[in-house]
Structures are given as C-alpha cells and as structure tokens.
Amino acid sequence: MGILTALLLVPLFGAALIWAMPSDSARMIRGIALVTGLLTLATAWSLLWGFDPGVAGIQFAEAHRWNPRMGTSFTLGIDGFSLPMVLLATLLCFVAILASGSIGQPTRIYYLLLLVLEAAMLGVFTAQDWALFYLFWELTLIPLFFLIDRWGGANRHGAALNFFLYTMGGSVFLLISLLILFDILPGHSFAMTDFMEGAATLPERTQLLIFLGFLIGFGVKMPIFPIHGWLPLAHVEAPSPVSILLSGILLKMGSYGLLRVSGMLPDAVMALQGVLIALALISLIYGGLLAWRQSDLKAMIAYSSVSHMGVVLVGIAALNVAGLTGAVMQMVAHGLVAGALFLLIGLMYERTHTRDINDYSSLVRVTPRFAVLTTLAFVAMVGLPGTVGFIAELHALIGGFERWGWLTLLLGVGMMISAAYAIRTVGRLFTGPVRARMRNIPDLYRSEMVAASVLTAGIVLLGLFPALALRLVAGSVTRFSAMFGV
C-alpha cells in the first residue's frame, strides 16, 4: 500500500471509528476527528520529504487493477500541481475540524461527513485515472449536501438543493465529455496518461466540443461567470467550517480539473484562449463589484471568491510559465485567505449573531487579536506585498501581460475594486464609534487563535518566502507551458 492510498484511508478509517462510537460521547468523537485530521495532515506533509521538485511528471505513483473490462484502474499519483492542493486540503480540513467546536447535534454524523469529504477531496487531487477522478468528484457532493442541508443557516434547504442541482448539472457535462473521449480513444482505458496521449491527436473540432463540456463541468465548481449561481447561497448558508472547505478547497477542484484538461486538449485551449480570458476578466470584475455591494460579510467573501478565482483563470488562460505559476499560487493564496476569513467571520458570527457589516463597529478595542488576524487576511486578499496574495497576483499579472498586453489592466482594476471592499470592511469592522452592543465580545480563545494563526502564518510565510511554494510547482509548470510552446 502506497503512501497516497494511506492518505485516503486515514480519514476514512477515522470516519469508520466515529461511526462505531455511541452518539452521546461528543468529546470523544471530536477528539477522534481532531486526531484523524492531524494524522492526515502529517501524512500529507510527509510527502514533502520524498517529493522531488525537479521531476516534472507524476510521483508516488501506484496503480491497482480495478475493472479491466471498463478500462478503469485505481491509479494515484501527485505532481507539482496536485501536491500544493493536497497540502492545502489537509491543512484546511484540520482547521475546519478545529473550528467545529460549537456545531449543532448530531456531531457524530457531522464529523463523519467531514472526514468522508476530506477523503473524497484528497482523492480528486491524487487520482490519476479519470474514472476514479469522477468517482471522487461526485463523492464530495453527498457529504456536502448533507452538511449544508442539516447544519446550515435559515435558508439551508434551498441552498443545499441549489448547490446540488448546479453541480450535478455541471457533472453531467463532465461525464459526457469523459465518455466521448473514452469512446473515441482506441486504448479503452480511463488512465490519465492514456487520455493525454490520445486526446492531443484528435482534430481540433472534436477537441473543442469535448473541452466545452469540461469547461462547463469545472466552470460550475470554480466558479466562472455566469454559472456561479450556487456559490453565494451555499457559502452564506453553510456552517462556517464547511464554508472554509467550500471556498478553500472545493473551488480549487474546479481550477485543478481545468488545468489537467487543458494539458490534455492543447489545441482546444489554444483556440479558446480568448474566451477563457474574457470569462476570467468578467468574473474578476463582476465578482468584485458584487462583493463591494454586499453588506452581508459572508456574501461579500463569497463574491470575492468569484473575483479571485477569476485571477486563477487569467493565469490559466495565459498558458505561460508566469501565468500558470500565478494560477497555482493564487489557488493556494485564495485557499488560505478565504479559509482564514470564513473562519474568523464565522467565529465572530457565533459571538454577535449578525453578519451585517453595519452592525459592527470599533472592534479593535474590544477584540484586538481578532482585529489583527482579520486585517492581515484582508490585506492579503488585496495582494499587499509581504503576503502570499501579492506573489500570486504579481505572477498572474506578469503572465497575463506577456500574453495579452494592456488587456491585463483590467486585472489591476479588479485588484483596485478588491482593495475598495477589503479596506472598507476593515474600516467598518474595527474603527468608528463605540457601540453598546459591541462592547462585551470575548476575543479569540486559544484553540481558535491556533486555527486562525496557522492560516495567517501561512499567508505571511509564503508572502515573505515564496520560493518554498514556487519550487514545488516549477517543474510541472515548465513542462506544462512547454506543451504550448511558450
């Protein structure tokens, strides 16, 4: 059994253990969940020891026969694109478990679903077989649906159903594209490497149709304007730990899939580069403007996610080294930033029971620790130098400029809009007149402090020493962009 299989089995094992527990031992269950999260985290980060950044291809590969008649196999492996995602996913899952202290009953089912979700997400990032990928992709839906529908806010049923329908709708296109490809290709195998070899040789028209299917499937998840309708509702209604996972990792599954598919269908991507950059820039500005208009804090962060995933798409559409590096870095940056923000705002919501920004005021006097960490996350969102957001946006900007010239100026406009709402929010939350209702709010407790500091420390660390992350992705990015001759 390889380390990647172990990585998938650890959370599943934890889930099984929780299943076996009686439902009234809440502390025990939380303990098991925490230990499992930590173990998964350790397993994932131990990958760093064996990972050779110089090798561009798949590492830690392991393959098991699964269903030879269907051409499927249980193949796992990671490269420079998936490793950062795996590390991020395990980190955010651990933080989410930490932040679930005040979740409603029944906690047994909640933690069980959370761990299954973690396993499914890790499966998506490590799968090297499209059938397996699709399996894990769909598997994430089930726990998420129940997590939102059972533990969400007031409008949770609508949000959960909406989320499910949207992503299922997208998945249908994904599945169709996969099946068409499987049908066309002679090898009768779902392995990513076989797809890679075969698909690139297809005529451009066929590639284009197949890629459009993928684009819709992954675009819903990412999300890309105009198929982002599920996102604001789901993010707002989901409980905070689930919001962390939703915007921190679930969205990255979309962009990760798009990256994989782009490598598979180079002609189609080249032909659709213009469409991609247009969608990216529209998402960027559209999301930013709507975020600026929200007075609901969670809705604001949700729309800002649309905007920031637009930056990822700009990087992917540039198809050069700087752009792709920017895309991967932005995936990491947004995971950390959005995770930290949903965490902190969620914790604040537990104390004040309001998400309306107009109700907040002068929190810096009452809750200085909260103020510092939130401000840090917000400035990272704007892309202030010294935070990981800057590294990501700079790469995307350079890559975009190399390919698209002055059109990239719109990326700057998007950054300015994000500065507008981020600074506005910081100002509203922390400064201003002292209100009676805001006077007796407890500051962050120790466990909350640990969870939030881990994320903000990551933001600052990668901002000051970006080489740590850039080194991981360099090999894969170079190989990828070489495919497009840039």
Binding site: L165, N358, R428
Partner: protein
Amino acid sequence: MLHSLVWFIPLLPLLAAAWIGLCMIFGWHTGDRGERMVARSASLPMLAALLLLLLLDVEGLSGSTPGQQVFGTWLASGDYRILISFTLDALSLSLATLIALISLVTLRFSVNYMHREVGFQRFFMLLSLFCSAMLLLVLAGNSVLTFVGWEVAGVCSYLLIGYAYDRPRAILNATRVFVTNRIGDAGFILGISLSFLWVGSVEWPQLALYSVEIAPLYKGLIGMGFLIAALVKSAQLPFSPWISHALEGPTPSSALFYGSLMVHAGVYLTIRLEPLLIQLQPLLILLGLLGLLTALYGWLVGLVQSDIKSALIFSTIAQVGLMFLECASGWFDLAAWHLVLHAIWRSYQFLHAPALLQLVDGPGRRTPAWLRSRSRVYGAATQRFWLDSIADWLLLLPTRSLAQDLQDFDQRVVTRMVGLPDQAGHLNSLARWEARRQGQGVDREVGRGRGMAGRLLAWLATLLYWFEEHLVLQGAGEGLRQTLDLIGGYLKQAEDLLSEPRYLLLLIMLTFVVIV
C-alpha cells in the same frame, strides 16, 4: 607644499559651526561661561584659517601664486565631472584674506554685542557657517563649488534675518529676501548648466580659456546667467529692494553680510568672469548702466533715510553700483581695489553704528535743502522709487490670485470628482468632531461611492446586482428548481395514472397490438 592645505581654510569654520551645532543639540556650554567657550570655538578656527591664508599670501608674494589646485572628483556622471578644485590667484587670495580678517573682527565684536542674547550659540554657529561659505565662494576653483558657497551664504542670511523668529515681521522679511535671491540662483544655475553644455567644463580657468571658441550667442547666454546672479546678490537695480528688508537681523550680521562681504559677492563673480565678459560688450554696457542707475538710486534714497542702518545700506549699494560701472568700463583691477577698501570701511561703519547712536544726541542728519525743494524727487526717494510695490504688483499679486484660483478649482472640481471630504468644512469645530465620533453624519451605507470613480463603481455594482438577482439567482437557481418541480409534478401524475389498473391494461393491450 602649503597650498595643498588650502581646503582646510573653508573647512575650519565649517567644523566650528558643526561643533557649536552639537553643543546646541546636547545643551553643552550654556550660560555665561558657555558663551566664552562658544566664542572661542568660533574664533580660533577662524584665526587658524586667517594665519593659513597669510602664509599662502606670503608664499604668493615671494614667488608666484599657486593657481588652480585639484584635489579630486566630487561627482562624475557621463561626460560631466565636477572636481574639488580651488583657484589660488591674486584675486581669490586677497579676498579670502579680507573675508577671514573681517569675519574674525566681527566675531570678536559679537561676543560683547550678543552677550546674554537668546540664541547666542545659534548666532555664532550661523556666523561660522557663513564665513566658511564665503571662503569657499572666493576660493572655489569652479562655478559649482562657488555656487555651494553662494547658496550656503544665502541660507545663513535667511536664518540670521529671521534671527528673532518670534517676530512675524522678521520672518516676513527673511522670506522676502530669500525668495528674491532665488532669481539670482536661477541665473547662476543657468550659467553653470550652459557652461557644461557648451564649454564642457565648469572650472574657472577652462571657462576663461574655451569661451573664446564658442558662438557669441552662447557666450552671451552664459554671461547673462552669471550676471543676473551677480546683480541679485549685490542688490543692484532692479533687484535692490531686498537689501533694505535684510537689515532685520542683529547688527554684526548686517555688517558682515550686507555691509561688507556678501553684498560684494556679485562684484567678485564679475571680476572672476573678466575674460568672458570683455568679449561681451553689449552686456557690459547694460551692466554699467544698471550700476550707474543703482549708484544714483542708492545715493538719492540714502539721502532721505532717517535711521543710520538704512542710510548706510543705501550708500553701500551705491558704492557697489560704482564697482559694477568700473567693471563695465574695463577697469576690473580698480573694481577689486574698490571692493577691498569699501568692505573694510563699511564694516567699520556698521559695527560702529550702534555705539555712535549712543553717543550722538538729537536728530540725525537732515535731508539736504535742494532735495527737499524738489518735491517729486523727494517723494520718490522716500518711497524708494516704489520698487517694492512694483514687484508686488507685477509678481506677488498675480501669483497669489493664481494660487487662489487653483485652490478654488481644487476644492470645487477635483475634490468633488475624487470624492474627498470637503476641506473647508472638515472637522472645523469641536461639535462636528463630537458628532463624527458618535457616528453621525458619516455615510454608513454599503455600496455607495463618492466622487466620480465611486459613483461609477456604485452604478455598475447596482446594475450587476440586478442582473445577479434576476437572472443568475432567481432565473437560473430558483428557475431550475421550479422547472424541475413542474416536470416532477407531471411525471408523478403520469406515474399515478399508469399505476391505475385500467391504464395498465390499456398499456398491455397496446403492447400486444404493437407486437402483432
């Protein structure tokens, strides 16, 4: 051998100034005992500089003057190089000796004069700095180093006019003098940059040597730049009025700056540029004319002054005007002699003036009868020929109203476009501040912007919000669900119908029909 120490001469008073400055910062040597220390630390370096100069003079008299001395490069960029060089010829050595001597005497005089004055240390620091600047001005081997001395002397003048900085009048006068002097600085910089451009060097000997080869127009422009600087610094027409404003400072500084040393800097510059200027007859004629006019102006205005310092200063600029006239006539040596003698005499007069006032009772000198009988000239002289008012009317008022207009434009157009809070009504009262602290009057609505960019942002955001609400969320999200509900309803009905026996039978029969 000795002349390699020449850079010590400006450096010694500079070090004295720095030392006194340190004393000021750290509060050393205050009080009566401190005064002696400060006076000594200013005078001794000056004395050393004077002795060094005298030795150089002896060397120069016994043999020949050392001439141009280069000690290294100050800065170099591309083809432009500025050297640290000193010109040691008869002119600069004699003038430097004069400066050192008069400075030393004035320093000694000030020890008693400034006794127990507020800012005793400040005065001596500035005086030492000024001496250093003047020595650098005359000894420097190129126009850039001369300009350094020129400017530092100007700054010292500004600071000493504003010596009593608690008096608004002093500050106003200091500012006026400084601003007028910037006109001359502009001319100096023009001269320096044009000599870089066309002569390729700013060293005085090179300027003299190569200026023969360049076109007359270029020569004229370079000469004009330097001459403007000279005219402003020496308070010649039409720039004369500044010098009467400059008398605000303590008497020893007036003596040193405007009576004897700084006012002659312009004449020094003119004599230094002799080789260039003799090629420019039209400019020289103009210079002579201005010198003559200034002499007349100084004489006439000086006659009607009622206080001793003003009378002295106007007669000073009259004498300096004569020096320019001499230069214009080609007698540069005469001008140099005149300069030296006048400097000594005038500093004596200025330093004596306060004591003289104590000794003499009764009204001062009366205006001569012939002048009083000519009422127009008399009136013009008492008004100093309205030069101040003309300058105000020509320069000050238009500038001020233009600034006012720009301020209005900024407030009414730019501030509103950018969306900044109005400056005029911004927190100008405690009541407003209190209201703001309580969160009143602050726009707290989300999604509203100020200024043009803010409005555009708000408008776009509203538009997109409508789109999002109606099409994306309700149209696609809710709509999808409703459609599915509808289809689900139909399917359920069909299902219900099919499960009834008669339809089941019908279906089976239909199947048979199809098979058959």
